[in-house]
């Protein structure tokens, strides 16, 4: 099978590594690659993991974008069976007009079903609905010998839960059945409110619990002292048809016009002044204690409007740091994390703060009951590396963990402390993939390997 050797990166543009790209179009071609290719392999969907989860330095990366077929849909149950390379964008365009939405959606629709399962992604409704794994009925996994195994809660359950959140290291998801959720309209009532500090932000999360299925919050990263943690909360629920003022097409997916960032911005674009202006602008722009009617794209995918928005961070890219800390320690951890980032002068602004519900069953799944913060940190060499490593240590101190789909610097020791199921995972992997065929730059960095 022909391959292309190319330097690629995750969405954060850091790190960049030379990989051998394969792009099979048929299952038999995929099988040929998996069974015969001597290089290590990792599957890659739309490349939205931020760092090295879908990279394989000098090894093989198996592109999944040609496996993008819908295979079956049952409107009675909302269960969609499709190939692993189907994108959330395609699912939305096809099924929102029929009254269905994704059970779980991340902050971008440019992810694949296979990738969403492998990272056990979470969304703005995690505290209520859990992660992607909760909406997976079953999937077919191509393992290292090229054979396929059907996995579900009742069939090969171990492999099912190892693969959900397994970062593509158990094999390649060739097809999956996922459950979509019925929605009354394609618009959301979003309630905006501003808080004056971290205490109030977290209190509002608790006070509003159960009122809205979707919760997200942006924090002013530059606020200090008693204002540290001042935020804009955006809580949403799908609007009833009666809220749409007689709109003749309540389920129409109103797509925004896309713009393109055609080149990489110079790093100097993000400086102390521009970041301060941006933070102040956002905090003042949003309304307080008001409800607005937004489209799916406006609420869930504001950044998808701009193609290549990742180029805004300069050619060295950025780290998206995401950690979750248990409720018992999250307030302290959040404060320390924000202060650490401020002290480093990291010019970070885009961020998301959310409450999370209980941990799912995926063995290496990220979410746990607590608060999670995701934040873009422009990558500026060693000082960024040192900062992120300090943040990782902080997360450990507070009993938290970082998200493998975004992490770039976690150590093997740190990984094992954060993900206690690692041993169970490696035991199963030794059985189904004794030669360690599925391996990625991430798995070698955190030593999630049987070598």
């Amino acid at each position: 099978m022909r391959s292309i050797t190319k330097t690629i990166s995750g969405w954060g543009l850091y790190p960049q590594e030379s990989c051998h790209l394969f792009r099979p179009e048929r299952e038999r071609e995929l099988k040929e690659i998996v069974a015969q290719e001597p290089k290590f392999l990792v599957p890659r969907g739309l490349g939205r993991a931020y760092a090295d989860a879908a990279l394989n330095a000098d090894q093989g990366v198996v592109l999944q974008d040609r496996f993008s077929h819908f295979l079956a849909f049952d409107p009675k149950t909302g269960i969609l069976e499709c190939e692993g390379g189907v994108s959330f964008e395609d699912i939305l365009e096809t099924f929102v007009p029929r009254g269905f939405f994704l059970g779980v959606s991340p902050g971008t629709k440019f992810v694949t079903v296979g990738g969403a399962i492998a990272a056990d992604i979470h969304g703005k409704n995690h505290d209520r609905d859990g992660s992607m794994g909760n909406f997976v009925e079953h999937f077919h996994l191509m393992t290292a010998d090229g054979g396929q195994t059907k996995c579900s809660r009742t069939e090969n359950a171990d492999l099912f839960w190892a693969t959900i959140g397994g970062m593509g290291l158990t094999g390649i998801i060739t097809r999956a059945a996922i459950r979509l959720k019925p929605i009354p309209s394609s618009r959301l009532n979003v309630y905006f409110e501003k808080t004056k500090g971290l205490d109030e932000t977290l209190e509002r999360f608790t006070a509003m619990e159960g009122r809205y299925p979707f919760t997200v919050c942006w924090m002013d990263m530059l606020a200090t002292g008693s204002r540290l943690g001042r935020s804009v909360l955006m809580q949403g629920d799908f609007a009833a048809v009666s809220d749409l003022h007689g709109d003749p097409a309540p389920l129409a997916l109103r797509l925004p016009k896309k713009i393109n960032l055609p080149f990489t911005l110079p790093e100097a674009t993000l400086n102390a002044l521009s970041v301060k202006l941006f933070n102040t602008f956002i905090y003042t722009k949003y309304p307080h204690q008001k409800t607005k009617l937004l489209t799916i794209d406006q609420y869930f995918y504001p950044l998808d409007v701009m193609n290549h928005w990742n180029r805004g961070y300069g050619k060295r890219g950025f780290i998206q740091y995401q950690a979750v800390w248990p409720f018992a320690s999250s307030k302290e951890a959040l404060k320390k994390t924000v202060q650490e980032i401020q002290k480093a002068g990291a010019n970070a602004c885009l961020n998301v703060l959310k409450p999370m519900g209980p941990q799912g069953e995926g063995w290496l799944s990220f979410p746990l009951a607590g608060h999670t913060l995701a934040i873009d940190i422009p990558f500026r060499g060693d000082k960024t590396t040192r900062l992120v490593k300090r943040l990782n240590d902080l997360a450990l101190d507070y009993g938290g963990r970082v998200y493998l789909a975004k992490d770039a610097f976690l150590s093997p020791e740190g990984f094992r402390r954060m993900y206690p199921n690692w041993e169970k995972f490696l035991k199963l992997k030794a059985k189904i993939d004794p030669k360690g065929k599925f391996s990625s730059s991430l798995s070698r960095r955190i030593n999630l390997e049987n070598r």
Binding site: R2, S3, I4, R23, E25, R26, E27, R66, H69, F70, L71, A72, F73, E83, D90, T94
Partner: protein, 244 residues
Amino acid sequence: MAGKIVIVGATSGIGQAIAHQYGEAKRSLWLLGRDRDALDRLAADCRIRYGVEAAVSLYDAEDMAAPESLFTDASLDGVDGAILCQGYLGDNAQSRRDLTEWKRTLEVNFLSVVACLTPLANVLEKRQNGFLCVVSSVAGVRGRQSNYVYGSAKGAVSVFLEGLRHRLFKAKVSVTEVRPGFVDTAMTFGLPGLFLVASTEKVAGDIAHAIAKRKAVTYTPRFWWAILTIIKCLPRFVFHRSKL
């Protein structure tokens, strides 16, 4: 016209993109190819995505007798036209010493086109409407040392279509030849020396446009017309020194 569209070689990269193009326009589809599993997946996808009818039939481009029985008055009832996108790039170097390689290249790219168009043209001619479209290639415009076996098959397609177009003019059946440049498909993935590679979606859009406009010959993307005009006009003493 809103009848059914026949796509031969439907599971190829360009064929799938064409299926999406017409599926989105709510046309019924009849998909033909040799990979049953791939056909079934494409058909299921079109049914779910666009809510259109999608039938499938097995067809191997090396079987010269098959089209005669596949394409009949009855089976083409309600069909607007057919798009042929079967293709086999072949290995030009291997063709120097391997009979099966050059034979296969000529069979899939040229003979199967004749085999399909013969019954298709007869039915549409009787009916006095419809269209026929073949995806050929810029490689068919001038024989080049690197790719002349494939190029000669595509060039033969051009001449055949020229004649068929002449014949079907009176019957008001349009005959369109589409010459794509490099397209991002399994056929080209990982090949060295590619440039200005077009997506299959772009090519499929151009094909549908050319068919709607009843064009005779079209290049996709358009700029290949300029490149090929230059290549065609190069005097031999220059051309022979190139590595094209």
